[in-house]
């Protein structure tokens, strides 16, 4: 490698690579958008009109006119919003007021429509505040981008970006799994042989490092960077960022893979015994434990759109689970061989899977239909999708990054590739950064992948630059907005639909939930009688006759038992007395 490096360095990769475009500034020459085009025209037209007017009128008037002209707004009204932008924020279909609707209905529909339109417009307007755009690597003519090495990229880009390409040589404790925190600031790595470390990877600040002296199957950050979960050989452990063991959750054993659902505060674990368990980390309670009956579960992913857990199985199927159902929501046959890895994109539209049959398949999981599949000669052991839809696949000791894999047409060659030493064990994109983290047998490597991360972040949700206090506040707010696990389902929009189940069905569910039929016992309703016997008092009397029948029965029974017991006792005592009596008692005084 090192021999090749200088040559590569000499070549001018800087030109080839188109860095992230800087945001457009107002003083720069902008390509004329339809807005800006329209405006000058309008201005001109108006100016022309005014001129015409002024020529007709006399001089003093003209002056006045000019004054007015100065004050007049050249762009009256609100700024127009491009249709495309508007469409981006369209939510559902508009509802029209039906003909002959009543006043109240009309009002309700019109007001709600107006409100949603207003919301849509405002959102489209505020879209202006997301100026950052993602850039991509571009090669010269007849040069593949995947031949560009990481070192070249690191040299070409600015120092801070270049420092994002680094590797940690940790050859001692075996292949590493990794996880980035949700803000993308913190990195957690866990070696197979027990080495766990968390790092603020941008400053290279080591937060904690330890060896748990046990096999580590998986590591995962919890809702903040203050806590993380480690799936060890037997139990699930939770540590804080200083490495202090907070919990040892013995209900969760033999965990192989974990996923954290950030909005539900649920830690989902898949175990070697075939159990899928959910731990509510906000209250520390097990929400659901589902026996999948599918054997060892070592392939797991979450759908960020609806918080459904995807599990891959050795029989080539992938099953979708929610904590509310004991059977899979969906089970789909994806591969002929076992499923090796799977990942779901941010919007919950696409799922990418790889199997032992060395195929890579892209599914539309809204329709459960395969979009396209491609054959990877080496097969992919790990898959990961970035926020912008770049797919990275680990084939052997090579990491390949694919672009436009989520489109309808299959791709023929990777966008980037990088060779590492040792088996790749974990892959994860860093959120809001153009960085791909790779855990492998020789340690950890951070790789620059231009165009991977989302350039615009929601500072109220995940702020990479947040301070300690901001984090605390965010934690409180997030806890207040916690979504209950009951709401997890395939269709999150179901909540906004009217439940159209029949009464019988609902009643059945109620009976199941309660364990008894609340409507089974009909309330006593006295017959109406004539001749004043159905007066309120009489009815009350009759009701009282049958009131508390169950209790009465019980009481009656208990009383009977008691009396019987007493009787027996009496008899016994009598017998005793009789038995003790002797003929000589009569002579006693």
């Amino acid at each position: 490698m090192s021999a090749v490096m200088p040559e590569l360095l000499t070549s001018t990769h800087v030109e080839k690579m188109k860095k992230k475009k800087p945001p457009k500034r107002y003083w720069e020459e902008t390509e004329n958008t339809d807005q800006s085009q329209r405006r000058p025209e309008e201005e001109e037209g108006k100016a022309g009109q005014n001129q015409n007017e002024s020529t007709v009128k006399e001089r003093p008037l003209k002056r006045k006119n000019d004054e007015r002209l100065e004050k007049k707004d050249p762009f009256p009204g609100e700024a127009p919003i491009p249709h495309k932008q508007l469409q981006k924020f369209q939510r559902g279909e508009k509802c029209k007021v039906p003909a002959g609707a009543r006043r109240r209905l009309k009002e309700a529909i019109t007001s709600s429509e107006a409100m949603s339109e207003h919301a849509q417009k405002q959102a489209a307007r505020y879209d202006l505040l997301l100026p950052e755009d993602a850039g991509f690597l571009e090669g010269d003519e007849d040069e593949d981008t995947n031949t560009i090495s990481q070192d070249d990229i690191a040299d070409a880009v600015d120092i801070t970006s270049g420092s994002k390409y680094f590797s940690l040589h940790l050859s001692q404790f075996g292949p590493y799994r990794l996880d980035y925190s949700r803000t993308g600031r913190h990195l957690l790595v866990g070696g197979k042989k027990g080495h766990v470390a968390c790092i603020d990877w941008q400053t290279k600040d080591l937060m904690c490092e330890m060896n748990v002296m046990e096999t580590v199957n998986d590591v995962k950050w919890l809702h903040t960077e203050a806590m993380f979960a480690v799936a060890q050989k037997r139990w699930l452990y939770i540590y804080d960022s200083k490495g202090v063991e907070l919990h040892c959750v013995k209900k969760f054993n033999d965990v192989l893979r974990m996923q954290f659902l950030p909005y539900h505060f649920l830690l989902a674990t898949a175990s070697a015994t075939g159990f899928l368990q959910y731990l509510d980390v906000s209250v520390g309670k097990e929400v659901a434990a589902i026996c999948t009956k599918m054997g060892r579960l070592d392939v797991m992913a979450q759908n960020p759109h609806n918080a459904v857990i995807h599990l891959g199985h050795p029989n080539g199927t992938i099953s979708l689970w929610s904590p509310n159902q004991k059977e899979p929501l969906v089970k789909m046959l994806c591969h002929r061989g076992a499923v090796r890895s799977l990942t779901v994109d941010k919007t919950g539209t696409y799922m990418v899977t790889s199997g032992l049959d060395r195929k890579l398949k892209v599914y539309d999981i809204r329709a459960f239909k395969p979009l396209h599949s491609c054959f990877l000669p080496a097969g992919a052991s790990c898959l990961s999708l970035s926020q912008r839809g770049l797919l990275s696949a680990a084939t052997g000791d090579i990491v390949q990054v694919y672009q436009n894999i989520l489109g309808s047409s299959p791709v023929s060659k990777p966008y980037m590739a990088h060779r590492l030493r040792g088996q790749i064990w974990g892959l994860a994109y860093c959120p809001f950064e153009d960085v791909l983290g790779i855990g492998h047998g020789e340690g950890f490597t951070s790789m620059i992948v231009p165009g991977a991360g989302e350039p615009n972040f929601d500072a109220l949700d995940t702020n990479p630059f947040r301070s300690y206090e901001q984090r605390q506040e965010w934690e409180v707010k997030a806890l207040l907005e916690k979504v209950q696990p009951e709401l997890i389902g395939l269709h999150p929009e179901q909540l906004s639909k009217v439940d159209q189940a029949s009464f019988e069905q609902r009643h059945k569910e109620q009976v199941e939930a309660l364990g008894f039929d609340p409507l089974a016992k009909v309330k006593f309703k006295p017959k109406t009688k004539k001749k004043g016997r159905s007066s309120a008092g009489a009815i009350e009397k009759r009701k009282r006759k049958v009131a508390h029948e169950d209790q009465r029965d019980e009481i009656r029974q208990s009383v009977q038992e008691r009396t019987e017991r007493e009787k027996e006792l009496k008899e016994k005592s009598n017998e005793k007395k009789l038995g003790n009596k002797s003929t000589l008692d009569r002579f006693r005084k």
């Binding site: 949603s116 000669p377 080496a378 390949q400």
Partner: protein, 830 residues
């Protein structure tokens, strides 16, 4: 009689005294005298009490009915008008017209109808009045946000002059506070003592204050004693007691009055006025005139009953007393009366006393001194008597009470005795009855037992027969079933098995082809694959793996991907490469061991499918202890091995999936209910089946469920279970104004949270429906508030002529508004 004589003499004296004063009073006095005389006899007196005087005398106070029957003409009344020149021609003409017109006035409408009309008009009026509120109410209902109080000042900044100069006590609270301060002459600034306190300090010393306090205490104590006493006395129920009390009070009052005339003439005058009022009332009413029902009955009784007569007399006396003109003698007069007639009355010389200045009647000497005095005397006598009576009565009461107590004491024991006796009488009977009942019940029980036993025996026998029948039927059915099972399901099973054996879905592409058939009904392929499988048995499993040949199948669709660091694998030696790749893939994973385990399990599960086709004794000797020949067994083993290999091939992943799916589909299908009753309507018995028509007729098929979601997706199983956990959070009934779910759903499609919206939109969406100002009083809406800004039409443009009703309505509204204002201002004042 002595009293009467006295009265007479007094009367005479009175007459003599007044005779010389005024001649005009002569007649009256004479009449009085006559009355007095006549009143001595009871009969005449009675006559006199009738109201006959009106008809005798003509006075301006009475209406004389002498001229009844004569009609009054208009000309009679207005005859003079014609002649007088002062009256205008117009009025004359009108009068003439009136005279000439013969039309009678129409009858007024009856009460109901007039009321109805009035109600109608009133309704219209009020409706008009109320309807002007309608718009504003609608507007407020529609309004997205209401801010109370309604007419608030604009919240913007004010000019300095306004703020400084125009500061007044504005809020009612401030007003109240300042008013209170002002009234109590409290300091607006902050001195230590208020002026009132200072004054009080100056007013008296400590000792004085103490004395005063003691006095006050005493007064209070006395008052409380008096109150207690009054309360106690008020509670006494005896009528007689109260009567006596009242009279005593009256007497007291009279005494007081005399004193009062001396000391407090104004108060006396007031009292007099009161008396005058009572006199007037008495004169107006027929009370105490013995004309009522009671009086008449008493009048009848009066002949025989002394007390009745007395009562009547009392009544009359009362009337007389009350109707008598009371002229309180002034001090001087009293003196004169007391002193007698010898001296000349002082009042002749005296100037008029202060009291009399107002009342000219008070000037002269009293004419009616005597009757009053007489009254008093009689009353005195009566009261004395009554007091005696009262005492007697009280005594009687006590006696009676004692008697009653004694009676009760007597009674109680007797009752007890009675009760005891009754009980004694009753008890034995009940005992007897109970015994009887017990006996009877015993007997019944015995009977019942007997019956039961018999019944039981019968039951048992019946049961046995039934049971036997059942068993026979069962056996029959069983035999039927077995036969059927042999016939149909068995065949089906076999077919199924065969079919399954024949499926050889090689890969997913095949599966997708399969998916085009709606039912994953496996197609019977020609026997080629089978032979292939058989062929495959000879090869070792290792080769078998290669023989699966993923590439052949998968490269068809999928493109091989070129990776720079990896030599393109595909075209090179297939076997080694693939093995290496697979090994690589498996390296570190223990997937393969799992995989193999799973496979072996599957194989174990798959074993029953291997049908033992060896028929012992088929083609060779059969019997106990003889096994099928070796080559047969070997063949079977080979087959099994081949099956295991097949399992490893991964083909059965697909078939398993298909099986799973078909199972689920079958479970989802509703079952067919068979209601056929064998032997119903036709011959029944062993070996007889219900007819085909019947089976068809009574087999109930329920409607098929809606198509599964995964019906057209062969490689997907979607659970059909309802998500009940979300259902509890869903809206289950369509809310009011919406007509269908689509409308409602679209109305809630836009989220309101800050995660999805901009700040301003969130604020706008979640703004409260009502905003109230802290501490401000929200008063009811007044008409001016909304009418003011609407109807600002100048007065000149209004209609010149207003209809009466409208006018009135307007006035009414004005009045109501005034009322409102009045109420408001009152509130403020408060």
């Amino acid at each position: 009689m002595a009293a009467d004589e006295e009265e007479l003499s007094i009367n005479e004296q009175a007459i003599s005294a007044s005779e010389d004063e005024e001649g005009s009073d002569d007649e009256r006095k004479h009449k009085k005298l006559l009355e007095a005389i006549s009143s001595m006899g009871s009969r005449k007196r009675k006559k006199q009490n009738e109201r006959s005087e009106a008809s005798v005398q003509v006075s301006e106070f009475f209406v004389n009915a002498e001229g009844t029957g004569e009609k009054v003409n208009l000309s009679d009344l207005l005859g003079t008008v014609e002649k007088t020149s002062g009256a205008s021609n117009k009025t004359k003409k009108q009068l003439r017209n009136l005279q000439s017109s013969k039309e009678t006035l129409e009858l007024p409408l009856n009460k109901q109808q007039t009321e109805k009309i009035q109600r109608g008009i009133a309704y219209e009026k009020t409706a008009a009045e109320v309807s002007c509120w309608r718009n504003i109410i609608l507007q407020n209902q529609k309004a997205e946000q209401m801010v109370f109080p309604l007419n608030q000042e604009s919240p913007g900044p004010k000019r300095v002059e306004q703020v400084v100069a125009g500061w007044k006590v504005q809020t009612p609270l401030e007003q109240e506070i300042f008013r209170l301060l002002h009234i109590n002459s409290q300091p607006v600034d902050d001195p230590v003592l208020t002026p009132v306190e200072e004054q009080s300090l100056k007013a008296m010393s400590l000792e004085e204050a103490k004395i005063r306090r003691a006095e006050l205490q005493k007064a209070r104590a006395l008052q409380s004693y008096y109150e207690a006493k009054a309360k106690r006395e008020k509670k006494i129920k005896s009528k007689k007691y109260h009567k006596v009390q009242r009279k005593a009070k009256c007497k007291d009052f009279l005494k007081q009055f005399d004193e009062m005339v001396k000391t407090n003439p104004e108060g006396a005058l007031e009292e007099l006025k009161k008396m005058e009022l009572s006199r007037m009332e008495e004169r107006m009413s027929l009370k105490h005139q013995n004309s009522g029902k009671w009086a008449k009955s008493k009048a009848i009784m009066a002949k025989y009953d002394d007390s009745a007569r007395k009562a009547m007399q009392e009544q009359l006396q009362m009337n007389k007393d009350l109707t008598q003109k009371i002229v309180v003698p002034s001090d001087d007069e009293h003196e004169s009366n007391e002193e007698g007639l010898e001296t000349i009355p002082d009042f002749v010389n005296d100037s008029e006393p202060v009291i009399d200045s107002v009342n000219p009647w008070m000037r002269g000497q009293l004419t009616h001194e005597e009757p009053e005095v007489s009254c008093v005397t009689t009353e005195d006598v009566q009261t004395a008597e009554e007091e005696n009576e009262e005492e007697e009565l009280v005594g009687e009461f006590e006696r009676k009470r004692k008697l009653r107590q004694a009676d009760e004491e007597d009674l109680i024991p007797t009752e007890e005795e009675r009760k005891r006796a009754g009980l004694k009488k009753i008890q034995p009977a009940s005992e007897v009855v109970e015994e009887d009942v017990v006996e009877v019940s015993d007997k019944e029980e015995e009977d019942d037992d007997d019956d039961d036993e018999e019944e039981e025996e019968e039951d048992v026998s019946e049961f046995n027969t039934l049971f036997r029948l059942m068993r026979s039927e069962k056996t029959l059915e069983g035999s039927n079933q077995t036969r059927e099972g042999l016939n149909t399901p068995g065949q089906e099973d076999e077919e199924g098995l065969l079919n399954e054996g024949q499926i050889r879905v090689r890969n997913i592409e095949d599966l997708e082809v399969l998916g085009e058939f709606v039912d994953p009904q496996p197609i019977a392929e020609p026997s080629l694959p089978r032979t292939a499988a058989v062929e495959a048995t000879s090869e070792p499993p290792y080769k078998k793996k290669r023989e699966i040949d993923l590439k052949e199948v998968l490269t068809k669709e999928a493109k091989a991907v070129k990776v720079p660091f990896l030599p393109t694998v595909v075209d090179e030696e297939e076997r080694d490469e693939q093995i290496s790749i697979i090994k690589e893939a498996f390296a570190g994973d223990d997937v393969i061991s799992d995989f193999i385990k799973d496979k072996s399990k599957l194989e174990a599960a798959g074993r029953p499918e291997v049908v033992d086709l060896t028929l012992p004794g088929w083609g060779e000797w059969g019997g106990v202890g003889l096994k099928p020949s070796r080559w047969k067994r070997k063949r079977e083993r080979d087959e099994q091995i081949s099956i295991i290999k097949e399992a490893f091939a991964g083909d059965d992943v697909i078939s398993d999936f298909i099986k799973d799916k078909s199972k689920l589909e079958a479970a989802g299908r509703p079952e067919v209910v068979d209601l056929t009753l064998p032997g119903w309507g036709e011959w029944g018995g062993v070996g007889l089946k219900p007819s085909r028509w019947k089976r068809k007729r009574f087999r109930i098929k329920t409607a098929p469920p809606p198509p599964r979601q995964d019906q057209k997706l062969p490689d997907v199983i979607i659970s059909e279970n309802r998500n009940a956990s979300v259902a509890s959070h869903q809206v289950s009934q369509l809310p009011f104004p919406f007509q269908n779910t689509a409308q409602f759903e679209s109305s809630i499609r836009t989220p309101i949270g800050p995660t999805w919206n901009t700040q301003s939109v969130v604020k706008n969406m979640t703004k409260p429906k009502v905003i109230t100002k802290m501490g401000a009083i929200i008063e009811p809406m007044v008409k001016e508030d909304f009418i003011k800004n609407k109807t600002t039409t100048p007065g000149g443009k209004g209609p010149a002529i207003m209809l009466g009703e409208n006018k009135r309505a307007k006035e009414g509204t004005k009045r109501s508004s005034e009322k409102h204002r009045g109420r408001r201002s009152q509130k403020r004042r408060k």
